[in-house]
């Protein structure tokens, strides 16, 4: 059985018009049911989260109780002075055993330009901390700009659909530090096979897309794919393990 490490999951966030807030127990329940060994988790749904520092604290607390949950906290530039310094955020991230950081410039109101985010991005790059970027929050041009300016920074794009495939292939060919989490809504006809052919299986990370998506959809996209067993294992968990293992702690 392929070992699975979910790179695209979360809990603890609210959504307009939806009464329930997804919980860590829900994530753990699906992981148990579908034999997913570990999950890199963010605060999600994210659209109503206006206090990333509080959300990070709650995320760290939940992950501390469950070794299979690896935190992926939100980080942001500190120019405005309302959040701890970039270095303090990253030290805290490292201290809690995080596997990556989430960038949400639109959501948290900052620019990825060097004059605003240069210190943050530089520190993340220095430690080789992977950053997760939702496609709707950080589009292709912004990711390309970021990847070019910080070539040592692993950038993981997620929540992309089939209409992105042409652009995505070109972007990932141009920037070797860009990765793709293939959780829903990445439902692309022979998409894993196509991406593996273009950029290699080493650049793809298994993800479920929970709480937006039914987690099993992305599981079968991988298990039934035409990828070799070795490539399935890389996508399933090997690539994320390698990225997390590369973090300078």
């Amino acid at each position: 059985m392929i070992d699975l490490f979910d790179a695209q999951a979360g809990f603890g966030g609210g959504r307009r018009g939806q009464p329930g807030v997804p919980t860590a127990d829900e994530v753990l329940g699906h992981m148990d049911r579908l034999s997913i060994a570990r999950a890199l988790v963010r605060t999600d749904f994210e659209e109503m989260d206006r206090d990333p520092m509080l959300s990070n604290r709650l995320l760290y607390e939940a992950c501390a109780q469950h070794g299979c949950l690896v935190p992926c906290p939100t980080v942001l530039p500190t120019g405005h002075g309302d959040v701890p310094s970039e270095r303090e955020q990253i030290d805290e991230l490292i201290a809690h055993g995080s596997g990556a950081a989430t960038l949400r410039p639109g959501q948290d109101g900052w620019s990825t330009a060097e004059w605003c985010a240069g210190t943050l991005l530089g520190l993340l790059e220095e430690r080789r901390i992977p950053v997760l970027c939702r496609n709707s929050a950080l589009g292709f041009e912004a990711v390309a700009d970021l990847a070019g300016r910080h070539p040592g920074l692993p950038i993981v794009m997620y929540q992309l659909g089939y209409r992105s495939q042409r652009t995505l292939v070109s972007l990932m060919k141009a920037f070797p530090n860009v990765y793709l989490a293939v959780g829903s809504p990445y439902s692309v006809h022979l998409g894993l096979e196509s991406m593996t052919g273009h950029v290699g299986a080493e650049r793809l990370l298994f993800g479920t897309g929970f709480p937006y998506a039914e987690p099993m959809a992305s599981v079968t996209m991988l298990t039934y794919s035409d990828l070799s067993d070795g490539d399935k294992q890389l996508v399933g968990s090997g690539n994320l393990d390698r990225l997390i293992g590369g973090i300078g702690r």
């Binding site: 089939y162 006809h189 099993m216 039934y224």
Partner: protein, 261 residues
């Protein structure tokens, strides 16, 4: 783990379940594949052992009705035991619609496919000849019913006019779940088909809890979507095993058995 869930987790063949995909396409874009779309579609079916796909061709541009259907006919001839054809209908000229539908059904096509996205409501008069034929022969008619222009409210109107048509409402459970459930409650011959790239969390369970099981069918929308991804949300749904089998196979087979030849 239940059997279906375990097979999906392990990537084991589901061929024994004789799965019927009610929604597939021949397309050349926007997914950048250079080879023949029918070959790719069958390759995707083979990954998990899907037995049959009902397919419409949009590969030549939606306004080129005859060219689209000709490509579909070629695909049916190449894969006669795997691919069944929907006649794609572009309603610009009612007489052309009538003759195209009659000609394609004589060639062995199985149902009709219409897309409100082409700029015509489903009650547009140009579609009427196609619905009349579908009503005579009790054909399945696959309707795109997703997004801002979903056409769902046309379905009860059409059901009054064409009571023997089996309406297959595509993308149920994606966005307008409550709307789909309401239409299914109003229209006895409305079947809800499940494909959606988002694989919306608990959509299958919600439909299972609110719609008669025999009126939920599975489709993949491959191409452009990923067939195995679409399969997974049914395999992983927290509903009884037997219900999954009905959704993946039994319900579609019963629907297709109603066709009058």
């Amino acid at each position: 783990m239940t059997i279906l869930l375990e097979k999906g987790r392990l990537g084991e063949s589901l061929a024994e379940y004789q799965i019927v995909d009610m929604h597939a396409h021949l397309m050349r874009g926007p997914v950048p594949w250079g080879e023949e779309p029918a070959d790719h579609l069958v390759r995707a079916m083979d990954q998990s052992g899907v037995k049959t796909s009902l397919v419409s061709s949009l590969a030549c541009g939606g306004f080129r009705m005859e060219a689209c259907n000709e490509l579909m006919y070629e695909a049916m001839q190449k894969y006669p035991d795997r691919l069944l054809g929907y006649v794609y209908v572009w309603p610009g000229d009612p007489e052309a619609v009538r003759s195209e539908v009659e000609r394609r059904l004589a060639q062995g096509f199985t149902g009709l496919k219409m897309l409100v996205l082409m700029g015509y409501d489903y009650v547009y008069p140009g579609y009427a000849p196609a619905f009349e034929i579908a009503n005579e022969r009790r054909l399945p008619v696959l309707l795109h019913t997703y997004g801002g222009q979903a056409g769902l409210d046309d379905v009860p109107v059409l059901a009054e006019r064409y009571p023997d048509v089996n309406f297959v409402l595509a993308h149920a459970g994606a966005q307008q779940v409550e709307h789909h459930i309401r239409i299914a409650g109003q229209v006895e011959h409305a079947y809800l088909e499940l494909c959606t790239s988002s694989a919306t969390y608990r959509a299958v369970e919600t439909l299972f809890e609110n719609v008669p099981l025999e009126r939920i069918v599975w489709g993949a929308d491959d191409l452009p979507l990923n067939m195995s991804h679409q399969l997974g949300k049914v395999l992983g749904a927290q509903i009884p095993e037997e219900a999954k089998v009905q959704i993946l196979s039994g319900n579609a087979r019963r629907l297709l058995s109603q066709i009058r030849t």
